[in-house]
Amino acid sequence: MTPNSYTDVSDQQVVVFAQEGREDAYRELIKRYERPVFSLIYRMVRDNETAEDLAQETFIKVLNNIDRYRPEFKFSSWLFKIANNITIDHLRRRQVDTISIEGSPDAVTAERARATAVSITSGGESPLEELESRELGGQIEAAIAKLRPEYRACIILRHVEDYSYDEIAEIVKLPLGTVKTYIHRARQELREYLEGVR
């Protein structure tokens, strides 16, 4: 089987080929998920180099432990779970930086988070950046960045990756009720942040 013929092959089957040590299967898994994983991580850390390092760490960890994958779960869920763990660990290690830009992760309300955050809407943006930032897409990116990392992961998994609440709970290793609460609060905060834009 050539790499091109993986088109109609399910993730589970590609994983089986990878477990047999086939390099083209590893490359296929990277090809399928490098962008979703990198995007999730980037939107959580907001730094290209860091996101790339963490995405790389995620794939290395997953693919080096491919034999431990249990086929009863979605491969993508397992992959996002590891990506989320690695990213949250990184953000916890960098907690001081996170507080200085986006407010304390311990803040329980949006108001408290805003109160502890540092404004990033400085006049240092280029005209193009300013133009982009006026668009709703750019505003949403900026609004996501203001959410707590746990909220960010949940809202992205729900609305960008289309995961169900149960799957998100499995990925972020939190109770289902907590996930629902996080997503509800994240939506509220996004609405507040974007009120003046629409």
């Binding site: 040590g21 390099e23 590893y26 490359r27 990277i30 090809k31 490098e34 962008r35 979703p36 990198f38 995007s39 980037y42 996101a51 790339e52 995405a55 790389q56 794939f59 290395i60 693919l63 080096n64 709703l136 897409g137 949403i140 990116e141 809202i155 992205i156 729900r158 609305h159 960008v160 289309d162 169900s164 939506r187 996004l190 609405r191 974007l194 629409r198």
Partner: protein, 174 residues
């Protein structure tokens, strides 16, 4: 598409979230990941051997001597050196010791160990002259008889030369 479980005010935001583009890592991302997958890397103990063989075959723009061939050449050289050494020791023995005693020892050895010496001689002959030459000699052709005779004359001639040299050396010493 997920079902709506949010208020109407959030609908445009949800739609915009779904339109957010995927971001791409750098182009060599996959290569960097693959290079760190343990099971896809060659075993550390094997790689240097493969590399050195490769270099050996490319040296000087021509194929180098394979290890097996080199071993055969070494064996032939070793055998040649052994034969020359034994010859020199024998010549020295003929020149400086009592020839009759040496002849007696060789005669006794030939009598006692004739079969063994023949077998060893055959093996040594195979190594020195090559299996094709030995087979040729054993075939009993006229050319083979002539070759036997040449070898015998050479042997006796060499023996006579050594005896003459020993005699001259003794005379001069006296």
């Amino acid at each position: 598409m997920i079902e709506h479980d949010f208020p109407e005010e959030f609908v445009p935001i949800a739609a915009e979230l779904q339109r957010l583009p995927y971001l791409s890592p750098s182009r060599d991302f996959a290569e960097r990941v693959i290079s760190r997958i343990d099971r896809l890397q060659p075993a550390h103990g094997v790689a240097p051997v493969v590399a050195s063989r490769h270099l050996e075959l490319q040296q000087g723009g021509r194929q180098a001597v394979a290890p097996l061939q080199r071993r055969k050449v070494g064996l032939v050289r070793g055998t040649g050196r052994a034969v020359v050494s034994v010859g020199l020791v024998a010549a020295a023995a003929f020149m400086f010791f009592e020839i009759d005693l040496l002849t007696a020892i060789l005669s006794a050895a030939a009598t006692q160990y004739g079969f063994v010496m023949a077998a060893v001689g055959s093996q040594v002959g195979t190594v020195v002259l090559g299996p094709a030459t030995i087979a040729y000699l054993q075939a009993g052709a006229v050319e083979a008889v002539l070759l036997y005779l040449t070898l015998a004359v050479g042997l006796f001639g060499g023996y006579a030369a050594i005896r003459t040299a020993a005699h001259i050396a003794k005379s001069k010493a006296a």
